[in-house]
Amino acid sequence: MPAPRLIVYACAALLAASISYGLLRMPLQVHDALDEIVAAERSPGVWASFTSTIGETTYFRPLRIAETKLLFDVSGGHYFAAYKLFHIALLAAVFALFLGELRIETWTDAAAALFALTVFIGLHTFLGFVREAFPINHFLQVAVLVLATVRLARARPGLLVDVAANAALVAACLTLESGVLVWVAAAASRLAGRRGISDRALVVMTVLLAVYGAVRFVWLAPNVQAMTNASGYFFERLEGPQIRERFGAGLSRFTVYNVLASIASVLFSEPRGGVFVFFRAWSMDDIPPRMWINVVTSTLTTSFILVALIRTRNRELLVFLAVLLASAAASFAYAKDEIMSVAGVFYAIAAFWAVRSVLMRAYRPPAAVMFALVLIVAATGWSVRTIGVNHVLRAQAFAVHNDWAVIPETMEQRGTWPADPATRSLVIDLRDQSLAKPIVNPWFMARWADRVFEGDYF
């Protein structure tokens, strides 16, 4: 392996290891995870879990439910270890597949790859991979499957590649609605000239996609627009009923806003969850450094990508554009940063090709100094954002720790406190294990950290 690639891989391993440490310091979460674990305990088997929610809810994510059950059963009572190790394994896979998309032969490539690594981790959409788990992080799982499909598109054609690509599509669609991005990535890879997945396999994938669409959007949930999720609109955050009252249930300017806001969120780190937090802070005369860092780094990097797209017409960027547009389209009902998390990964890959093309060009000394200054500003900002992920994980660990404090009382209030003594014992065990983890109170953190590193905007 060439030395530049080896160095980049070692750096990526260290960055991934520090994030994994943060995951291990965070208890299993309560919201959207405890009920899933309790359901896994009650379920008689993996297949029963797989079929348990089909037709019962507007969501169609049976594979995640089945995986939750499978991990529960194989954990041997070590639930924290099982779910966390699976999360870390997915994280390692997404790092490995991301690096596999970067061509690193020279030290120039290595510099661009290091820059791209900080974009990959530092972009706010990455937080969707690590901040929560339900108890399996389905956003991360879909990202792994999409990247794996793009990888297959570059492999030597063959039956195994075709089967694997179709399996990836089925697995992704049964995990999360964003799973359709597997098809988008496969089709865009084909347009970009990658011939690993055959035409026949692409046709089968298209048929599978159509079947999925019919099941998900016709049979299970014909009125997707009626979803009640909260979302941002310019400077305010609206609850589901407010959205329907103001914009109705059909296609509206709110739908268009969500799609455009989602694209802008990846390209400029604004708006966040549909809310223009930077401009809202500006109107209040208090823009914390983290917002400047977010907007400046993203704007500079998007400028690099735009220039690279115009100058080089690099077909590698086609997959990024396709995933970005498809992810944004999937956000039509409500804007959520996590929905754009796969697009964020491909944004970082696009940043690699763009920065590489900046580094490869010959400049006169004054222009070189100017570009060096721009690069150092962008790279420094992205590095701060990357380190900030540790801060976010620590803050999230504190929040999750506190959520456990009011268990079982919260479950009693919601009417979900189980009647079965064994299940009650499981919940109390999980609570006691979670509370026993040493968590750092935010009081011990320097005040400047909240202003420099990423925080919760809502």
Binding site: L14, A17, A111, A368, A372, N390, D432
Partner: protein, 150 residues
């Protein structure tokens, strides 16, 4: 020459980020407390003042008395030692008052009167309302002769 300048500008900041990550990993591997994960232990009253519900539950479940007086380090709240309920009221944490009551804190009429007056002094209406949910029999709401400890 110019390319070297650009490569250095592009690579140095990420390498610093990698260095900080390496410190986190190495410190954790050595059994230490790495950056971002360093802190100290809290008394029950400090946990109540610093909205650390998890620590309050952990301490009370493990047998710490929720009605005793505990010291507070400077900067947490302007008092040297308080009961957890007093600390929660002083920090204007209605949800913490509720949690402490759930976890075994008790107030007699005179203690409740003191807390109620402290809460009125802080101006936190939600804390006052929360305390009023736990008004003991025979308690009076007069604040005559009561001085706030913070």
């Amino acid at each position: 020459m110019t390319r070297s300048l650009l490569v250095i500008a592009c690579a140095i900041p990420p390498l610093i980020a990698v260095g900080i990550s390496a410190v986190i990993v190495v410190t954790a591997a050595a059994g230490g407390s790495p950056p971002f994960w360093r802190g100290g232990t809290l008394t029950l009253s400090e946990a109540a003042a610093l909205r650390d519900q998890g620590e309050v539950t952990r301490l009370t479940v493990s047998g710490t008395d929720p009605n005793a007086v505990y010291p507070l380090r400077p900067g947490v709240i302007a008092a040297g030692a308080l009961t957890p309920l007093e600390a929660a009221v002083g920090a204007r944490r209605a949800e913490m008052v509720e949690l402490l009551m759930l976890r075994g804190a008790r107030v007699d009429p005179s203690g409740w009167r003191r807390l109620h007056c402290f809460a009125l002094g802080t101006g936190a209406a939600d804390v006052v309302q929360m305390l009023e949910r736990y008004t003991p029999a025979n308690a009076t709401a007069s604040c005559e002769g009561i001085t706030t400890p913070f």
